[in-house]
């Protein structure tokens, strides 16, 4: 629209995005490690939750569960895990247990100002925790009090913590390699002593006791160690036949083979126990090479997933989306006052959303490859994918109607959904294995993806409608012309187009779900709550379209209907999971319920605002009645 935009203004968008892209690229680089190479250790593959993952994921997910953070400030998750597994006495002093509940703090006689507590802090009252946990275990999860929920959470955290401790070394180990060597030497005599005792013959009491002492410690390890760290032996039946250290060491006394990885792990543990970084790093290198040679797929998975964890793409995307949102909103609010500056801001926002969308896409694709799955496999990934869908739709809208609205709503939706995803990730592993019924990539790729796009587009329409209502009430912008039409009309067209998409996606997705059900258990439609939720979205979109076609509602009515679509979608996405029935239920989610209610209330409030008569609107009140009055009144006088 302008002919004299200064060159600088033209370059600002590109420059900003280039700088941010440079920043993103720079975060790929990791400074070399000094001391113990715990970061490399974090890349080693292990088996947990039925899947191969690196120690790094074990560390981060455990910390999330225990501390609700992925690190301990300066101490990385890998450093913490290595210490916990190899020198548990030192780790017990680290403040890792997060406790917020006052009742719980009182029970444990802890001061409330710290927020994070060490295992040693909890020790004096461990018996109380156990006793309460036993009682609460019998209480139905949905009827537990806040205190009971928090106590169970702490109890589970201590369980994870103690099990991790037993992964690589028995309790009270001082020099694992030495201890293993003496155990191996003791086996023949020890076995003989046990046999002799059983046969009622003479045996050496000390040998027997020492031997049984080892076995008891290894037995604990074999029962409780959390990740399985030893790759399957060459003669193992399947590739996922991983073992833990304890089981292998007990097997040794029964004439089974020593897993070659034991020696390496023992060397690492001993080096760490005796504070010898060089030996640790050497043993780590040797093991990395060995495991890389014999288990290339698993090793690759470990390395890549550790990189994925390190890069934290979604976290960075959140930051960039916020930035883009601020830019887009500023552009939107200033396009009438300072069109040129506004256009520069808008373009910056648009390119930034594009860049962030690429990061978002990269992370989704990386995750898909890691998992070998389509993008949506659980609630966590559905949030990420809904955000992605909204961002893509927003970018298309921005490309078609270059007014900043698409960029604003896209970045907002991207930000909100990724924050929701981060909160859903707090339970730990987000790449858990799929239960038998869901173990089908074909239907996950079709039904789940399409229905999730249906959610995304319904939300998108709702967010655009909110923009309409807020801008209309608070500013005169909806009447401002953008090119040839008013901004208000642009928004109406956008919402209509998105609702059409939403109808297509939600209908197709829902019916595909029915077809999956028909294929899997012979029932196209079972009135399962999740199915009903999806159907509600279809019906609601159909209502909006028919109400518009029938002339039952005008622009503002459509906007209010579209906002209500947010409520319907959030109910279907989250609400029905809270009912705890049917095939799709994932259990009751107390905290999520509160947020869902808040969201619904906020949407109702916006609808009420949208229903306010036009005279309360800054955008329309001046226009229609005034000229009519002016025309009519003089004639009568």
């Amino acid at each position: 629209m302008k002919t004299t935009t200064p060159k600088v203004m033209k370059w600002i968008p590109w420059l900003t995005v280039l700088i941010l892209a440079g920043w993103l690229l720079s975060t790929f680089w990791q400074p070399p490690e000094t001391g113990f190479h715990t970061r490399d250790f974090g890349k080693l593959p292990v088996l947990l939750n039925g899947r191969i993952q690196p120690f790094d994921s074990v560390a981060r997910n455990s910390l999330l569960q225990i501390r609700t953070r992925q690190s301990l400030g300066e101490v990385t998750a890998d450093q913490w895990l290595v210490e916990l597994m190899m020198k548990p006495d030192a780790a017990d002093k680290q403040p890792v247990f997060r406790i917020d509940n006052l009742e719980l703090l009182n029970l444990l006689v802890l001061s409330e100002k710290d927020k994070y507590y060490s295992f040693n802090d909890l020790q004096p009252h461990a018996a109380d925790i156990d006793k309460e946990a036993q009682r609460i275990d019998a209480v139905d999860p949905s009827s537990r009090s806040v205190f009971e929920q928090q106590l169970m959470k702490l109890f589970n955290a201590t369980q994870v913590y103690q099990r991790l401790k037993l992964t690589l070394a028995p309790p009270d180990s001082k020099d694992l390699a030495l201890e293993l060597a003496s155990y191996q030497k003791l086996i023949p005599d020890g076995v003989a002593a046990v046999r002799a005792k059983e046969a009622g013959q003479k045996y050496d009491g000390t040998t027997l006791n020492d031997f049984l002492g080892y076995l008891a410690a290894y037995d604990d390890m074999s029962k409780y160690a959390l990740p399985l760290v030893l790759p399957p032996l060459q003669d193992a039946k399947t590739r996922d036949d991983w073992q833990n250290l304890g089981a292998n060491l007990i097997g040794l006394s029964q004439g089974k083979d020593l897993n070659p990885a034991v020696k390496n792990y023992a060397a690492m543990v001993s080096a760490y126990q005796n504070n010898r970084p060089d030996e640790f790093n050497q043993a780590l290198d040797e093991y990395s090479q060995w495991v890389g040679k014999w288990y290339p797929v698993e090793t690759g998975k470990g390395v890549h997933e550790a990189f994925y964890n390190f890069f934290q793409a979604f976290y960075k995307a959140i930051v960039l989306y916020v930035l883009a949102f601020l830019l887009a909103v500023t552009a939107l609010l200033t396009f009438a006052i300072a069109p040129r500056a506004s256009e520069t801001l808008r373009r910056t926002a648009f390119y930034l959303v594009l860049l962030t969308g690429l990061v978002h896409t990269f992370a989704i694709v990386f995750r898909m490859v890691l998992e070998g799955r389509p993008p949506v496999t659980n609630l966590y990934s559905s949030a990420i994918f809904i955000g992605w869908g909204c961002v893509v739709l927003g970018l298309i809208l921005e490309r078609v109607f270059a007014v900043g609205l698409g960029a604003a709503v896209a970045s907002f939706a991207g930000f909100v959904t990724l924050v929701i995803a981060q909160n859903l990730a707090i339970d730990g592993d987000t790449m858990e294995m799929m239960r038998a019924v869901l173990d089908t990539n074909f239907w996950l790729a079709t039904h789940v993806v399409v229905v999730t796009l249906g959610y995304a587009s319904t939300f998108m329409a709702g967010f655009l409608a909110i923009t309409y209502i807020l801008l209309g009430l608070g500013t005169p912008l909806l009447e401002q012309k953008v090119g040839q039409i008013e901004l208000g009309k642009v928004l109406t067209k956008m919402v209509y187009a998105i609702v059409c998409f939403a109808t297509l996606f939600s209908f197709t997705g829902t019916v595909l779900g029915g077809i999956w059900a028909d294929q899997s258990w012979g029932r196209f439609w079972g009135w399962d709550p999740k199915e009903n939720g999806a159907l509600l979205i279809v019906l609601w979109n159909a209502i909006i379209l028919h109400a518009r076609w029938g002339g039952l509602v005008r622009d503002r009515g459509i906007m209010c209907l579209a906002v209500f679509g947010n409520i319907v979608t959030s109910f279907s996405w989250f609400g029905v999971n809270m009912l705890g029935i049917g095939l799709h239920s994932y259990g009751f989610m107390e905290a999520a319920f509160k947020w869902l209610m808040l969201f619904i209330i906020s949407q109702v409030a916006i609808i009420v605002l949208g229903l306010l008569p036009a005279r309360f609107w800054k955008s329309f009140h001046a226009k229609k009645p005034a000229p009519n009055l002016a025309a009519v009144v003089p004639a009568k006088v």
Partner: protein
Amino acid sequence: MVLNPLIKFFGSLRLTVVCLALGMVLIFAGTMAEVHLGLYQSQNEFFRSFIVFWRPENSPWKIPVLPGGYLLGGVLLLNLVAAHSERFTFNRKKAGIWMAHTGLILLLLGQLLTDMLAHESTMHLRVGEARNYSESERAFELAVSDVTDPKATQVVAIPDRLLLKHGDLRTADLPFTVRVHTYYANSALTNQAAAGFQPAVAPDATGAGGLWLKAVPHETDDKLRDLPSGVVEIVTPQGSAGSWLVSSYLGTPQTFTWQNRKYELLLRPERFYRPYSLQLQEFKHDVYKGTDVPKNFSSRLVLNRPDTGEHRDVLIYMNNPLRYAGETFYQASFDTDDQGTILQVVHNPSWITPYLACLLVGAGLVVQFLTHLVPFLKRRRAA
């Protein structure tokens, strides 16, 4: 014409919107009701009904509160047909709408047909066991068997809907009358007198003593089923041959002898026989290593059909059913000891309709939106 206002009413968009909105209320209410009533009961009350009633507790009143699924579906169907006959003329611009709506009509009709024609039952097999029948999940039957000749057992099965009516049941296949004194669709049994329980005997106090029964409300937990019981008397032309408790709790039949013939009475899930049998060779319940998350359930079976000489191995696992003789066998559940499988057997002649409907509606919507979107984008580009 008189019909015109009617067609106008039934073809109006206003009616569409009202029906869709009521449909949403119905689905929402039905979904919430599933929490308390269970899926099955809620489906019957909300979706497989014409009117949804509200029954205030301790009151004989039935207050209609919502149109049920059948009514709404029916009106929507009328609405669609009327709208098309009245308003729409077929042209290229409307092709998408036509396709989508035809697909919807097909979907609604198909679901109605499924509701009327589809038949579901289950087949429970222990390892090594072969069966040539499946069983109803909810309906029971009283099997009266003449077992005098073990090689040629004669069975007369009386469906529970007849038992529920009580009274005398006569058939030419039985030489005596079955008199139903009590029959409860869901019941509880005890072996000692307790409050609310009545002795499981005929009114004249004959019959097997030692057990007490009472009626209990329908089961609402979807994992559980109603367990019926009743007391029946065998009335011969010479008088009563005795009364017996029949109950789904009893695993073994009640027996009696009359005129030198041996009979058995057994209340069992209704059976559906087939000219072929399935034998369970092996059931597998795989979990992910180091977890108890199920990875797969599978049943290896032998299909045996004497009249055609068919004899082959089949494997049924999650998302991979056996389709045979117009029926589909799905892996539905299993015994807790992993030594038995439960297959869902579905016969649904209209299974194809949702597939076609989905294709039609999906394609219709795409066509419709593209016919609007493409010219719009062209105009923008030109502007």
